[in-house]
């Protein structure tokens, strides 16, 4: 049955139901706007279906098994067997629970949900085509819109995601058998997180990275414990190479991935790596090329990112953008924050994107978490800085968990001690960074953090000790 082309109207149209779009929809609903949320694939977007949640589920589960299997020192003797199909089924259950929760929350906040792909027809109209043969399309008029179409994995020449042994992160998170061996192209956060998962599942992992180290953009001291543990897990690295092509092996047993030296003038030989699968994780690009943005007068930069002002407005006054499609950092919580701001601005509130503290977490083993400025960023910005650090090997709580690699580092402004930023590598870094995010956001000083009583024995005491170290009087470390 072909559905006839009807035209309906909505105050606020939101395109894309990822963490930017669905959060914007809920907030707009709370503010009594008439909202329609269009999604072509799955509620929750990349994050809930193929990204943050599935990856964290597999990271946590493989960690539980790995930790128990390596705790002889603690008197624990276990040899856990992992059934990947069972683990993936559990992960799918977690995803279902969350995505159906998103759907319910949208409905409870009076958001109209519409399945289909939206493209702009003009400044106040989209066409929404429904998927499935003969499902037709409809036209929707809107007063305001938020574009929250997210991002997709970048492809590299000769590695197409349709081809069986070539995987993107989404496909890698849905495997139901453990590959014997895997080449991972890209040592960014997604590549490194998944390298850890597969290594713990028992896969022989080799990571190819064009640059000369893991996690480009992070400070060396933060990367060191992660690189060390990756080595301990048996992950192999080939830095300074780009993957150029792949082919089935002559003997039919898996594939061969070829990689060329990244530097043109290199004398190094090209690499030939045997593997069962190759996972490409070289970055993500905004989904802005399939929307006919020009029909609505929305401009992008040359990477395809929709440019927005501090209220989230695009070059078209009444249209906003939020999330990955609106640029770096491509992180779920950045998208949710932008979604909230856009919804509030559209509802007439005086909101703006004016955070001081944007956290970022890499869920490697150990985790890395940062917020605010690094020391060099602060200095480039003209601050005189002081720094306080505390190593987890001096933390009683870390010792009782058997996990003592890493440290807390706080960067503060010298004269008044305002906390400007922090970075943590080590156990629970992802959770510990929250306190420092609040400190940066509130303009707290290192004295404030140092004077706050922290419960013993906890890892969060390390945050207090790093603040005390910045003041020259940490208790559990020498203040040199």
């Amino acid at each position: 049955m072909v559905v006839g082309d009807v035209t309906t109207g909505t105050d606020l149209l939101i395109i894309g139901a990822g963490p930017a779009g669905y959060v914007a929809a809920i907030r707009a609903g709370q503010l009594d706007l008439d909202v329609t949320l269009v999604e072509k694939d799955a509620y929750g977007g990349t994050c809930l279906n193929y990204g943050c949640i599935p990856s964290k589920a597999l990271i946590t589960a493989t960690d539980i098994a790995h930790e128990a299997g390596n705790a002889e020192e603690m008197g624990i003797h276990a040899d856990p067997a992992i059934d990947l199909a069972g683990m993936v089924e559990w992960k799918d259950g977690v995803v279902d629970q969350l995505t159906s929760g998103v759907e319910k929350l949208c409905k409870a906040n009076q958001v109209t949900l519409l399945e289909g792909t939206a493209t702009f027809a003009d400044e106040h109209t989209v066409r929404v085509s429904h998927s499935g043969e003969g499902q037709g399309s409809e036209t929707l008029e809107f007063e305001n819109a938020i574009v929250a179409t997210g991002s997709r994995p970048i492809e590299i020449p000769n590695f197409e995601y349709g081809d069986e042994p070539v995987l993107n992160s989404k496909q890698a998170l849905a495997l139901d058998a453990v590959p014997d061996s895997m080449v991972i192209v890209g040592a960014g956060y997604i590549g490194m997180e998944l390298a850890g998962v597969f290594a713990k599942l028992g896969t022989d992992v080799t990571v190819i990275e064009m640059l000369d180290s893991i996690l480009p953009g992070y400070d060396d001291d933060l990367k060191r414990p992660v690189k060390q543990r990756a080595n301990d897990l048996g992950i192999e690295f080939e830095f300074g190479y780009t993957a150029s092509e792949w082919h089935d092996r002559d003997d039919g047993d898996g594939i061969q991935v070829l990689a060329e030296p990244a530097a043109d003038d290199s004398d190094d030989e090209r690499l030939e790596l045997d593997a069962e699968k190759v996972l490409v994780a070289v970055g993500r690009q905004p989904v802005s090329d399939t929307l006919a943005l020009e029909e609505a007068g929305i401009e992008t930069d040359d990477r395809g990112i929709i440019e927005t002002d501090s209220r989230g407005r695009t070059s078209a006054e009444h249209i906003f953008a939020a999330g990955d499609v609106a640029g770096e950092p491509m992180l779920a919580h950045k998208g949710s924050m932008e979604g909230k701001v856009a919804a509030e601005v559209i509802a007439g509130e005086p909101s703006a994107i004016d955070h001081q503290a944007m956290p970022a977490v890499v869920f490697t083993d150990p985790e890395i978490a940062t917020v605010g400025m690094t020391e060099s960023e602060a200095e480039d910005d003209g601050f005189e800085t002081i720094v306080g650090t505390f190593p987890f090997r001096a933390s009683g709580r870390a010792l009782t968990t058997g996990d003592t690699d890493g440290f807390v580092k706080i960067v503060a402004e010298e004269s008044d001690g305002y906390v400007l930023g922090a970075s943590i590598v080590g156990p629970e870094a992802s959770e510990l960074i929250a306190e420092l995010g609040l400190a940066v956001e509130l303009g707290a000083t290192v004295e404030d953090v140092a004077s706050t009583v922290h419960a013993h024995p906890t890892l969060s005491e390390s945050v207090m000790e790093a603040a005390e170290n910045a003041l020259g009087h940490a208790i559990h470390t020498l203040n040199r």
Binding site: I386, T389, T445, S451, L471
Partner: protein
Amino acid sequence: TPEDRVFAPPRARRMAREEGIDLSSLEGSGPGGRITAADVRAVARGDADSEQATVEPTPTDATTADDSSAADVAAAEAEQPA
């Protein structure tokens, strides 16, 4: 709000003790009247409406512990676990 509860960060409270300023007599400039370190400093310098503040004798000779010279705070290498 009960009279005796003052909303002020630790740094502002320490500065008030150092200067002998009674915080509960101050009007804060922060959200909802939260007292900031700058508010305390202003009263201490006398450039705010310092009549609000009751100055009482400091119970100890006030020396600041803010001895955070750059040399003191270089990365802690020789720490001991505890």
